[in-house]
């Protein structure tokens, strides 16, 4: 076991993938708790599709991928947030429209430029080879920003997530915090996308939060559990992907599915145990 680990991290690309993956998982899970509870999960999914389109176009015109993808996805984040908040437009339909549209444009861009199927596959399902030294530095900086902001604004994030109207009435600048959450989500998704794949990256946002909510009853516990869970699941997924030569993104998502089922079973057993003493009484 230990030998496998030592052997694994003697490859510099795997070490880079691990650092970026752990940091991106951590950021995604923290932001994910708020996104899931505010019923914004679809935003994460929409953003990853827009990111796919942007990356594909950037490759087609030989531009630096992140330099194109980051501003496009950030702009999309503002747009999707606005659409979700507005009750007039059908928010969910608009998100589906934007994500499938971006996906189609991306596929067109790729087929015009290279015509190779391999590239599409890598963009959609991720590649462990994609992480460069620059990505490592960027993900360290991003996760530092997310962690510091999250801890600094923790009481506000709770208040805004739990009850927007009450927070507004007591003078919290709700719009500002929503924009902050959307912005950080956009950055996290762009960074994690090439590793996890644009079709799979939103699972990092959604799974840990939903899994933790199965078992934990307070916001603080859900946040802490999501953070730990996402890191553990990523490492297990990476290990599996090395051992079985499977794509890293899909392996990590499978680890998350397993964790979800485990927590679900635990909550069922706990419920059963709690009910029993009452039935006997």
């Amino acid at each position: 076991m230990l030998n496998v680990l030592i052997q694994m991290f003697s490859y510099p690309f795997l070490l880079r993938a691990m650092i970026v993956g752990v940091l991106v998982s951590l950021c995604a899970s923290l932001l994910g708790v708020s996104l899931v509870l505010k019923r914004y999960s679809m935003i994460g999914d929409g953003l990853s599709h827009v990111g796919f389109g942007a990356l594909a176009v950037a490759t087609a015109v030989h531009a630096a991928p992140l330099a194109v993808a980051i501003p496009v996805v950030v702009a999309a984040a503002f747009l999707l947030l606005r659409l979700s908040e507005s009750s007039k437009v059908k928010g969910d339909a608009a998100i589906a429209l934007i994500s499938t549209g971006a996906l189609a444009i991306g596929v067109m861009a790729i087929s015009f430029s290279t015509g190779a199927n391999m590239d599409v596959y890598n963009y959609m399902f991720g590649s462990i080879l994609a992480m460069s030294q620059g990505d490592v530095r960027l993900s360290i900086a991003l996760s530092a920003v997310v962690l510091v902001l999250y801890m600094l604004f923790y009481p506000k994030i709770f208040a805004v997530t739990f009850d927007e109207t009450f927070s507004l009435a007591t003078g919290v600048r709700v719009g500002w915090y929503n924009v902050l959450i959307a912005l950080l989500t956009a950055l996290t998704i762009v960074l994690g996308m090439r590793l996890m794949g644009s079709l799979l990256i939103s699972s990092l946002v959604i799974f840990p939060a939903l899994t933790s909510m199965r078992v934990f009853q307070s916001f603080r516990c859900v946040v802490i559990s999501s953070a730990c869970l996402s890191i553990v699941c990523f490492l297990i997924g990476l290990l599996l992907s090395y051992a079985w030569s499977t794509p890293a993104g899909a392996s990590v998502v499978c680890a998350n599915i397993a964790a979800y089922l485990l927590f679900w079973a635990f909550s069922l057993v706990r419920q059963r145990l709690r009910r029993k003493p009452m039935e006997n009484a």
Binding site: L37, R39, M151, L152, F153, Y154, P155, K156, F158, A159, F162, D163, T165, F166, S167, L168, A169, T170, G171, V172, S212, M213, F216, Q217, S218, F219, R220, C221, V222
Partner: protein, 235 residues
Amino acid sequence: MALITCENVSLSYESVPVLSGLSFCVNPGDYLCIVGENGSGKSTLVKALLSLKHIAGGSIRFGDGLRKNEIGYLPQQTGAQQDFPASVQEVVQSGCINQIGLRPFYPAAQRLRVQQNLKRLGLWDLRKRSFRQLSGGQQQRVLLARALCATSKLLLLDEPAAGLDPKITQEMYAFVRGLNQEGITIIMVSHDIQSVLADASHILHLQHRPLFFGKTEEYVKSDAAKRFLGGAFHA
């Protein structure tokens, strides 16, 4: 001096006027009940009082040292929080959000305030429980405790009894009555006027314009009340 003075306020909802010519004032210690049929502009008025909505005309002034963000607000139950994982303590604590500035934690003074309000509403033993596991009446009490953390002067309650069974409703009104007797000013929106006539000191009756504003004793004799309460009185 009045806590809130509204002068000739008009309000619109998506640029359709819903309420006009509204003037009233709320003095410290008052218990004002805002009544009216559905769609009469009650909820829009609540939003305007909380500064969540621009007023189309007139003015709303806050006096007696009341700041805009010092109104303790109990929103209508939306059901959005029904599956939210949060402990009772976390929810009540978030009422102090307007007092901590940019600090990332709740200082001792606010923690004491949370403790007092938990005890005041009989929630101390439930503080570690999850909000989503509580009954509807208990959830309303938690949200009331949160509102009390945000204010020591004025509570604004929007249909606090909606969806509660009759016994719990009476308990809720008794809590509000107790808070009013302790000196907290109450503004309550309700369409269940029968239950609050005994408690409220003032009534504001809306029907796209104010039909009546004044003391409760005078209201029961007024024409507006006779039409609104008529059926119920004879029943």
